[in-house]
Each structure stands twice: as C-alpha cells, then as structure tokens.
C-alpha cells in the first residue's frame, strides 16, 4: 500500500506529477487552482527528480512552453482554471494538430467571462467539443475524488503518450479545494529519450542525428490533400479512443427505473441523492462518466432499453445532457431525458436533486 495522506485535490495533482516522472510544469496563477504550482514550487522537484517547474508570464505562454517541451518527447503539463483555459485554447489546438502528448488540468470555475471563483462544470462543451479551432478532441478525464485526482495524472499521461494527443483532467474548484484521504503512488523514473522513442516512435525534436531525417513538429499543411490526410489520421485516433478508452462507473443501476448521469463533483452529490431516493422507495441509479471524451454512449444506450428516464445533473446550464440525448436517441429508446443543475458557482445539494427527480422525472 502506498503512502496515505490527507491532501487537497490541487495539492495532489502536484504530488502525483512529481511521482509519476513528469519532466516539466509550466503555469500561471489563477484561483481556484493556484495550489498546484505553489505545491510544486515548495516541493522543489528539480532537486529530487529533475522536474522543471516554471511560472510563465501568461497562460498563453505556459501552453506554448508545454508545446515546445512536449515536442521534444518530454512528459509535461500545465494547469489552470476556466478563463485561463480559454486563453490556452489556441495552443491546445496546435498541440492536438501537431499530435503532441501532454496533460492539461482545468479546475473549473463559474463563467462566462471573469465569472466567479466558485466551482462549476460549465466548460464541458469547451473540453469535449473543441475549445480551440479545427477538428480535434482531447482525452477528457473527470475525477470525482481526491484519490482520482492523483490517479488520473498518471493515467492522463499514459493515454496522452499512447495516442500522442493532449489529455485533460476536467475538475472543479470543489474537488480542487477539498481534502480527502489519498494513497499516493510510488515514484516512477522519468522516461529517457530512448524509452519515449521505443514506445512511440521517432517523432520528437531531440536533435537531428545522422541515422534519421530531421523531425518537424508542426500543424501546418497548406496543401489541402495533406491537411485532409492529417485530419483523417486524427479522426482515426478518436475512433480508436471511442473503442478502447471509455471509462465509467454505475451505482445501483441494476434495477433502476430512473438513472442520473453526472460527472465529477456532481456525481458525488448524486450518489448521495440515490441513497436518499432509495430510502424513499424510488428506484434510482447513477451512471458516472469517467471519460467525458470518449463519452460512454453504449452503456447509456444499453440502460435506455430498460429504464423510464435519465436526468443529467450538472453544474451548468445543461451541456452533457445533449450527449445523453444522443446516446438515448441512438438506442431508439423512448426514455425521457431531462436535466437538472445549478450555475454561478452554486453546488446543488443531494436533497435538491431528489426533489428534481420527483418533479422532472417521475411526475413528468
């Protein structure tokens, strides 16, 4: 068993990065995620593992530092919160287009605009449907506990390198600021250039040697046929992700008449709501998408064949509910799909969700 600690979600992102052999972190302060860089700076990993930590002049610069470092085959990351991720959108699009592995952590806060520093899940569309320009996808992981904040750092990097694609941990201020018991991972050595090459091929700009052609990291294809070729290659990766990387969890869905669909902190609240609803004799279950892209369409479609209705519970105006509707529609099911959520940094209570189940699902 690994070392047990009581840690904040944000702090554990930093600790997990050091332990999983991350080569570099580039970031810019923004509430509610500043503890990530603060923890890294206090830990001084450059002495311990050789990991580089640098405070950039802006989010624009940090994501481009990630681009440069990732382009040399290094395991690098950044973290920010919603407005900062908007600033990074350009760089993320370039990283996806140039097919570079990296990890981006978004500790969401309420928006639009400067918004609020309180937790939110309003960046679902931004994370799963684009954010920046062009046809690209991120691998999006949604932790629901401090333990998963720890676990998904390593998992995010694994998937990023497997697909040479940016991975995102999409969390929020609630999980970032919350402390829970966490079992830390063992230290993994940082990868050597040789290991990266044998695992993922020779693509990184590690310095041109006589035994290979020079490598170029770029997302520029002025010839349309070449551009489409690149687009197709990206789409094939996304199809493979949909086939191989869907992760989700179900809770009391076996005999459920109604199923809540929720991710991250909303899923935690809904788990309690399921308990409360069951105590009232309502057969309610919960499906928690762990990967938001690829989205667990099939398990929802399967459930749609036997349940009466779904309710997406989100801390936004109803974003993921569209993906639930698509999945249910694909199953040609007549199950109702509805949504309940709060915005503005307000976290719904388990009791509110139960009321919504009664009013929006059962009575309707």
């Amino acid at each position: 068993m690994g070392e047990l600690r009581l840690m904040k979600g944000n702090e554990v992102i930093a600790e997990a990065a050091i332990r999983c052999g991350c080569d570099g972190y580039f970031g810019y302060p923004i509430t509610p995620q500043s503890e990530v860089m603060e923890t890294l700076m206090a830990r001084e990993p450059w002495d311990e593992t050789g990991m580089v930590v640098l405070q950039a002049e802006s989010e624009v610069a940090s994501i481009n530092m990630v681009y440069g470092a990732a382009g040399t085959g290094k395991k690098v990351m950044t973290s920010s919160s919603s407005p900062g991720i908007s600033l990074m959108a350009e760089g993320i699009s370039y990283i996806a287009g140039a097919e570079l592995p990296c990890l981006i952590v978004n500790v969401q806060r309420g928006g639009p605009g400067l918004g609020t520093i309180q937790p939110s899940q309003a960046d679902y569309f931004q994370s799963t449907k684009g954010g920046g320009h062009g046809d690209y996808k991120l691998i999006v992981l949604a932790p629901a506990s401090v333990q998963e904040m720890n676990d998904f750092v390593d998992l995010g990097f694994e998937l990023a390198f497997k697909y040479r694609n940016p991975a995102m941990i999409l969390t929020d201020g609630a999980i970032g600021q919350m402390m829970e018991k966490v079992e830390l991972g063992d230290y993994k050595p940082r990868m050597t250039a040789g290991e990266v090459e044998s695992k993922t091929g020779s693509w990184a700009t590690t310095g041109k040697t006589s035994d290979r052609d020079y490598n170029v990291i770029t997302s520029l294809y002025l010839e349309s046929s070449k551009m489409e070729e690149s687009n197709r290659r990206l789409q094939e990766k996304y199809i493979q992700m949909e086939a191989e990387e869907v992760r989700y969890e179900t809770f009391q869905c076996e005999d459920a008449d109604y199923v809540l669909v929720a991710f991250g902190s909303s899923a935690r609240i809904c788990q309690k709501s399921v308990e409360l609803a069951r105590a009232k004799g309502l057969k309610v279950g919960l499906l928690r998408p762990i990967t938001l892209f690829p989205f667990p369409k099939k398990p929802i479609a399967e459930l749609a064949k036997k349940v009466k209705g779904f309710m997406a519970v989100e801390m936004n105006a109803g974003q993921m509910v569209e993906d639930v509707q698509l999945a249910v529609g694909c199953a040609k099911s007549l199950a109702t799909v509805t949504y309940f959520g709060r915005m503005g940094g307000i976290i719904p209570t388990p009791g509110e969700v139960v009321e919504a189940i009664e009013q929006k699902l059962i009575e309707a």
């Binding site: 047990l4 009581l6 919350m178 829970e180 018991k181 935690r268 609240i269 309690k272």
Partner: protein, 184 residues
C-alpha cells in the same frame, strides 16, 4: 459508521484547522474522510465553515444539506446551521457572542465556554482544540491516540512543540462540556 459534521464560525477561529485535525485523525484510524471548506471571498475575515465527513465506507457527497453534528461558533452560523442538524443529532456551540441560543428540542444540544477556557489556559489560539475536545466528549468518533497522530501529521514540524499544549486544551474541553437541557 458515518459522521457528517459542519464546523462554522469566523475566519481566524481555527475552524478549518480543527476540521483538518479531525479529518487526519480519521485517516490515522483507516477511515475514509472528506474535508470540504467554504472558500473564496468569504475566507477573508468573514465567516468560515468546513464540512468534515468520516466514514467506514466510501463517502458520497461532500456537499450536504443536513448534518449529524453542527459545531457552531458565531451567531450567523447558528442562524444558518441550527436547522440543518438531523433529528437526534448533536449541536455544540460556544455561547460567547451568541445572542439567540438554540431552541430545537429534537436534537442534543451542548455548550462549551471555549473562548474563556482557552484564555484561562493562557493561549487563546487553543480555542479550536478546546472545542474539538468538547465535541469528542459528546461524540467519541475518533480515539485520542489518532488525534495525537493527526496533530503530528497536520501541524508543520516547527509547531510540534505546541502539541502538548493542544492536547491539554482538548482535555480541558472534554472536561468542561456542558449538556443543555431544553424543555419542549
């Protein structure tokens, strides 16, 4: 066993650190724990509250609308949280600054003169430990040895010399807990 607690008072009363020591004590005896603070502008000088959940099972929601125990350290928090205690639950408060004491008769109400006791101990900063001691007397959810370990884990090493004083404060709190009998 699951214990869901809200600790609420002013910023600076040590609300968050009391919750942290309690949570760490839970970790020390192999429980699942969640510590969920209010954060943001209200952190600066205003009210502060923290939800602590300790359980033998996986913890679901960190956000709760009702609690097994409310530890209330100012009037605003009394107004907000008295009504959130589950029937049969516990409300512990420090009467210092409380204008409207609790009135519910379906819960167990306790009080602790934390401010006064801490002053008598010669260190007002031990206030939160006095209250923690009182809570543990009313509801012994963690063992004293876990509390000791929790203190060691959550205090930076340079403050370890203060552990005996903190334990003394916890003892004083345990000793001086008062049961409030409200007649319905």
């Amino acid at each position: 066993m699951t214990e869901e607690i809200i600790i609420a008072g002013f910023g600076g009363q040590g609300v968050l650190s009391m919750g942290k020591i309690l949570a760490y004590s839970g970790v020390m005896q192999d429980q699942e724990v969640t510590w969920f603070p209010s954060y943001g502008p209200e952190m600066r000088g205003g009210t502060a509250n923290v939800t602590v959940i300790m359980s033998d099972n996986r913890i679901s929601s960190p956000i709760l609308h009702e609690f097994d125990t409310a530890i209330i350290l100012n009037q605003q928090s009394m107004d907000k949280f008295e009504k959130t205690v589950k029937a049969g639950g516990v409300l512990l408060y420090d009467p210092n600054g409380i204008v409207h004491p609790p009135t519910r008769t379906d819960i167990n109400v306790y009080k602790i003169e934390g401010t006064k006791i801490a002053a008598d101990l010669g260190n007002v900063k031990t206030f939160n430990m006095v209250v923690l001691g009182a809570y543990l007397k009313a509801k012994p959810v963690v063992k004293m040895e876990s509390i000791k370990k929790g203190l060691e884990k959550s205090l930076p090493e340079r403050h370890h010399k203060l552990i005996p004083l903190n334990l003394q404060a916890i003892d004083a709190g345990q000793e001086k807990l008062e049961t409030v009998n409200l007649v319905s």
